[in-house]
Symmetry: C2
């Protein structure tokens, strides 16, 4: 049997992040301000450090990773690339299946890759305090951990439904010294307005973002930090895809298809973007964003300007959206409950350079259990989306006899999601189909532009 884990040395951690903007056929559509005009970098400077603002608008292909960030990366990076020998055998597929395992980070997912960078740049510019949102808790945990390491106070607005489903994510954040509140809260105007209309609101990433942004904008000592969606976040996550390319070289293989869960897009962009350069150069590779059928942004949303948050505090971005006030059902992949998507992923999808599929909740848990029973690791519900799509393709290969190389990003472990697995086993989980009428309805909720 060939190798199970393909490892890299610490010295092989990439020295630069890859900026996909340099290889896009068209420049990114600009974010717009309340007046419908493109905003300048200074509009972002109220809540982000300058270094981050520069990265957000940069078109440079390679951006250097600060040595202090690489120092912290070395606590868990490079992450291993696994060949899923046992899953392949169980499926009886001729396909070769690989997965990159980001659950080796102390916070248990890929999210620290950008948390370290964001905290570092904020620290460099003297920021003492950060606010943020979190869905499943993976992002909030990550920022809490590195906030503690860099001596920055962190306040987390955690989507209420996840706060209740995953109490131990809160404990984890508190162990790393962060404050955590279930969102919507009564601490912000955004939260109070939503509670007044929907006292039982389960919350959403969009709402939690509104709260965190509102607080950061209103306090001079405080910046905001976002776990996905924006260009700089996807940039930092490319360390995943870049490492994986070195790892595939070591075993003289290369993926035909890449699968990653897609909520705000940082997981997908992080693993897929470094391969997009090859695709632009003529390589035959398919990059598949996998999203929940209950929140099918790319596969069923509108490609239009919309707000990044629920209330409309952020600039408008051109992206696939289900409407900024769409509150997705309380599915158990909290990290994917987002109405919109990264503008970069959206534009590349619109131009046909990346593809997308949606999968049902129950089918994702079935895939996750099959994975756990063969490969050992119990995956996060978000990751189960990629596993589902990858297994489906592996089974198609079994029918056709194709020996494709399939690669997915195992973005995190499910140690804080066992209550969801319990519900899956006891038959309490259900599938939610995004209603056909909602897509027309969403049109009326999009902000008017131009």
């Amino acid at each position: 049997m060939s190798q199970t884990k393909i490892l890299l040395e610490e010295s092989e951690i990439p020295t630069h992040w890859y900026n996909v903007v340099a290889d896009m056929p068209n420049p990114p559509a600009p974010p717009l301000g309340p007046d419908g005009q493109p905003i300048g970098p200074d509009a972002l400077a109220a809540i982000f450090p300058n270094a981050i603002v520069e990265q957000e608008v940069s078109a440079e292909r390679w951006i250097e990773i600060p040595e202090e960030v690489r120092e912290i990366y070395r606590l868990w990076r490079p992450s291993p690339l696994f060949r899923a020998h046992r899953l392949e055998a169980k499926l009886g597929t001729p396909a070769r299946i690989y997965y990159k395992y980001e659950g080796v980070s102390p916070a248990g997912s890929h999210k620290p890759n950008t948390a370290v960078a964001q905290a570092w740049y904020n620290k460099q510019e003297g920021v003492k305090r950060l606010t943020t949102e979190t869905g499943a808790g993976q992002w909030g945990s990550s920022l809490a951990m590195v906030g503690e390491m860099f001596g920055i106070a962190v306040r987390v607005y955690m989507v209420r439904v996840s706060y209740e489903q995953k109490p131990f994510r809160r404990s984890m954040m508190q162990t790393w010294g962060a404050e955590v509140f279930p969102s919507p809260t009564d601490k912000t105007e955004a939260g109070r307005n939503i509670l007044a209309q929907h006292p039982d609101s389960p919350g959403s990433l969009g709402i939690a973002i509104s709260e965190a942004v509102e607080e950061a904008a209103s306090r001079k000592d405080t910046n905001y930090s976002l776990g996905s969606v924006l260009n700089h976040v996807l940039l930092h996550q490319t360390v995943i895809g870049l490492e994986s390319k070195k790892q595939f070289e070591k075993v003289d293989d290369y993926p035909d298809m890449i699968f990653a869960p897609c909520g705000g897009g940082s997981n997908f962009g992080g693993v897929a973007f470094p391969y997009l350069a090859d695709k632009a150069g003529g390589k035959d590779i398919e990059l598949v964003a996998v999203e929940p059928a209950s929140c099918p942004t790319l596969t069923r949303g509108h490609y239009a300007y919309d707000f990044g948050d629920a209330v409309g505090l952020t600039p408008m971005m051109k992206m696939y959206t289900l409407g900024h006030d769409f509150v997705p059902p309380g599915i158990h992949a909290g990290g994917l409950r987002y109405h919109g998507d990264s503008a970069l992923v959206s534009q590349l999808y619109n131009e046909g350079l990346v593809s997308a599929v949606s999968v049902n909740q129950l089918a994702t848990f079935e895939a996750g259990v099959q994975f756990a029973q063969t490969e050992g690791i119990i995956p996060a519900p978000e990751s189960n989306h990629a596993i589902r799509a990858c297994i489906d393709e592996a089974l198609r290969c079994k029918e056709t006899g194709e020996t494709k190389t399939l690669f997915f990003n195992l973005s995190g472990h499910g140690h804080f999601d066992m209550a969801s697995y319990d519900k899956f086993f006891s038959g309490e989980l259900e599938d939610f189909e995004y209603p056909a009428e909602a897509i027309d309805e969403a049109l009326h909720h999009l902000p008017k532009v131009g």
Copy 2:
């Protein structure tokens, strides 16, 4: 800064386990049967496969690891050795601190190292079903995972206090297809008798062992599998210490002191025994078993023959014991709540070749939080015992200026122990001192031998 992680290739996974019996100054005291006479290997064959029984009594220095076991090891082994740069800096110690991280296994601790081997030998001999006990759930999870991989059904008796503290360990075992019951249960005579006397019994490892052994002994298709204490279990765990020796060679360093938590002894034996050979050869190295002050087997127990379980179903072993019917307080390091200890560890302690310290619960959580806030990983409460003792030594080095090399086994992560961390933060945890009168009382509970 020098390397953070010292890694090995899969090809460097040891090919043989190390059997410390070959290097002990005296042969191990034999286990005794109910008649007070040494038992033969056949007495063990009712509940263990022959290959395991042979290992239990072997004096061979090196025992080959089957290729099929190494195949599964490759899902997470070799485990990384970390240099704790950030913890050292925080403590301001001149000591060099290293830790081996066994939490990289899918079950989250060192326990799968022996679970794989035990399940494999049972499968080889046609066994279809295994029973076992579990305290904190780390061992039960591990056996569940490999049982699923090898197609063996697993039933777990989980100590009730841990079952209640850690519901998601149960979910994890169920994801890997195992049955789990809180012990004492009404499914065995041992359990029913204890419930009759103590309906609110929190359970103990000793009681759960009684239940699992009773069931295995009464069913022909079923064997028993133990997660610690016995010689073959410690043997399998030596893969940890053996790997760490190769890793220290790569950075041209060698430990002056090794710390590991000690409940049944497999964690401590696994990391420390391979160094005992060097100590026997004249190396100056101190091997420190760290136990809870509330269950201080080595530091305050009697060195005497006693049963391995609560009821007296097992052979008697010469070991440090607090009395087989001692039910330790419900501290949050469930893996260390054991009245006795490995006979090998006990004999080596008695002969002065290994040392032991006991530490208080609150101090262990303080150490664990300090570790999490510097190194990132949130440790299991069991591991916090080793961290406490190691930090104490590092602080002593700070006083004296000694540049010692300190090494501890980070036996697992604390992702399923966040409720305990919550209680620590909210001030609900307390220290339990083992009462002075209990040690005399225990004398009267020891079985009469010879």
